[in-house]
Amino acid sequence: MLKINNLHASVEDKSILKGINLEVKPGEVHAIMGPNGSGKSTLASVIAGKEDYEVEDGDIFLEGENINELAAEERAHKGVFLSFQYPVEIPGVSVTNFMKTAINESRKAKGLEDMPANEMLKLIREKSELLEIDRKFLSRSLNEGFSGGEKKRNEIFQMAMLEPKLAILDETDSGLDIDALRIVANGVNKLKNKDNAVVVITHYQRLLDYIVPDYVHVLLNGRIVKSGTKELAHELEEKGYDWIKEEVGA
């Protein structure tokens, strides 16, 4: 699904990713953990195609195709989805209109007609029920004045609407209360199947009790310095990162 080889990326001449290697196969869930500022969000943004970051070396493949040169929207059309750590507020565009535009633009890119209005409504109803989102919420301006948790839930609602092949969830758990965490994780699990993949970026083991990872990676100073199974997450929760820093001599 996703294969990253020796990825180096920088922003404003500051090198942030320093040789990332990662392979995610269909049906897998990967977790990426690591201290603040280690480059997790940067990695997520680079995969999603944010142009502020300069890819200096390395390649990103999606289903075997090199996507280095593709614009963010083209990557989205190919099934990449990023749930933002800090979703952006867009005053003046309602959640519903935003989703209609996103879905129909993706369809257009694939040479399909607009989704019929009744089908769209049905989809919206179905997915908002899945994430237990009040319908009134959908007519509000996108993320404007949403609470932290509401923003995150809304991100997963968008994921549910778009049904991506590769979903990267950047700290989707932060800001969610305990019930919301369960609802959101449950939503993600319902969308999960053998043909898609999920990368969850998190600081806490708790989310991984719900969305159980096949692999856990530790990102430190722009490199993946350790990979393991879900037990690694428990170990990190217990011991923090110092022992890994020592192990890799950082």
Binding site: E73, R75, A76, I90, L162
Partner: protein, 437 residues
């Protein structure tokens, strides 16, 4: 001969066609003297620092429209809000077109200035209101001197006008260059409501210069909503002078949608003569190429407990230039005034410019005044957010700009007009908005 000289000397010719033994003509004579004295404004005038009329005054304008040029409704239907029933006052090259208009005298007067200025029936209203709130600057005086035609609307007490009134001025290119000076008077008496849509539309590439004056009187508890659609072609320029006088508890809004035209100057002045008045001034400007739009507003708070709301948004592409000069005066007696002003601008191209200047003159101590102006580019993180959801760059930009201007549209009370403006905005931004509002 300069345009000024030409205008002054043609005043005599003008006098051959109007009744000179009237009070109105005394006002005109006074006004031509004022114009002769003041002339056209130049960049030396503080209020015209960023707007030069030089390029549009150089044409050899014909100042008297000759004959009515017949046009078929089907050819110009697109310039009307045509999916609802409306009153219409239509002018072609400055001359009234009866076959395109739908006027009335039943319960209210929706008719012509030329009739109002000459018929005894309207004499009282004319004496009480004509040229009572218009400024005495060069341009307004010029219009006053030649005032003869335009829209006259008088809504008597307790009347809710059941359909909007459209005032549309067409120019056909009959003249190689045409100057028009429409004069409108709108008087809305106690408790009455009216909605008016005004548009200037050139059907030719020949230069057109319109110098219009509109006086609006909103009497006690009247509600007046005035919408200006400025989407003319690139050889047409407009100097719009609109003066609003409000009495107690009245509400008057002016929305100005500026998308077209070569040079557009909006002088919009509000005078609040009464308590608990609400004045709303809103505008969306979306221009490119070498277009120029200048909003020059004044809200004069004279009595206590009144409000004013100004919200102007501008999007400037290519070499377009914009000006916003918003002045709010709060007199000493005008305690508990709430005056809000905001002017937000997006510069799409780095060659576009905007000059924005709020001017607050506050002499009362118990007032709430806020003003803010911003000039920026589109928010890059918002753009990435939209793109990451599969919305292409161009559409994402369009959607953000659309959203930016959206809250000005939310106060448009005529749904069909709102829809039309929405479409114009989408067209102007080159986007296909994938939804209805």
């Amino acid at each position: 001969m300069s345009l000024k000289e030409k205008l002054v000397s043609s005043f005599m010719a003008f006098e051959d066609h109007v009744d000179v033994d009237t009070k109105i003509h005394d006002i005109r004579t006074e006004a031509i003297k004022l114009f002769e004295d003041k002339g056209f404004p130049t960049k030396k005038d503080e209020a015209w620092k960023y707007t030069s009329l030089n390029s549009i005054l150089k044409h050899d304008y014909s100042v008297f429209p000759k004959q009515e040029n017949a046009i078929e409704y089907s050819d110009i239907k697109q310039y009307f809000i045509h999916d609802i029933d409306t009153y219409k006052i239509v002018f072609i090259d400055g001359k009234y077109s009866s076959h395109l208009s739908q006027t009335t005298h039943e319960g209210l007067d929706v008719c012509l200035m030329s009739a109002a200025l000459t018929k005894p029936k309207y004499q009282l209203v004319i004496e009480n209101y004509f040229n009572k709130v218009a400024e005495k600057d060069g341009l307004s005086s010029l219009n006053t001197a030649f005032s003869q035609e335009g829209a006259f609307i008088h809504v008597p007490k307790n009347k809710v006008v059941n359909k909007p009134i459209q005032i549309v001025h067409f120019s056909t290119g009959n003249e190689s260059a045409l100057m028009l000076q429409p004069r409108n008077l709108i008087v809305v008496d106690e408790n009455s409501h009216v909605q008016i849509i005004e548009r200037h539309q050139s059907l030719t590439d020949n230069p057109v210069l319109t110098n219009s004056v509109t006086e609006i009187f909103a009497n006690k508890r009247a509600i007046v909503d005035y919408y200006k659609i400025q989407n003319d072609n690139l050889n047409a320029s407009l100097i719009d002078n609109t003066f609003v006088e409000q009495k107690q508890e009245s509400f008057a809004s002016v929305h100005t949608f500026s998308f077209g035209g070569k040079l557009t100057r909006n002088n919009l002045n509000y005078y609040q003569n009464g308590e608990r008045i609400d004045s709303t001034l809103k505008g969306v400007t979306i221009i490119g190429e070498k277009q120029h739009v200048d909003h020059n507003t004044l809200v004069h708070h004279i009595e206590p407990n009144c409000e004013s709301h100004q919200d102007y948004k501008g999007i400037f592409d290519d070499n377009a230039t914009g000006v916003f000069n918003g002045k709010v005066v709060v007199e000493k007696e005008a305690q508990k005034t709430n005056a809000f002003q905001s002017n937000n601008n997006i510069l799409v191209s780095d060659k576009a410019t905007i000059n924005t200047k709020p001017q607050l003159e506050i002499f009362a101590d118990d007032v709430k005044c806020s003003h803010g102006c911003t000039i920026g580019q589109l928010d890059e993180s918002a753009l990435f957010y939209l793109k990451s959801r599969g919305i292409p760059e161009k559409e994402a930009r369009g959607l953000l700009m659309f959203a930016f201007s959206n809250n000005v549209l939310s106060s448009v009370k005529i749904p069909e007009l709102k829809q039309r403006i929405t479409k114009l905005i989408a067209l102007k931004l080159g986007v296909n908005i994938g939804f209805d509002l």
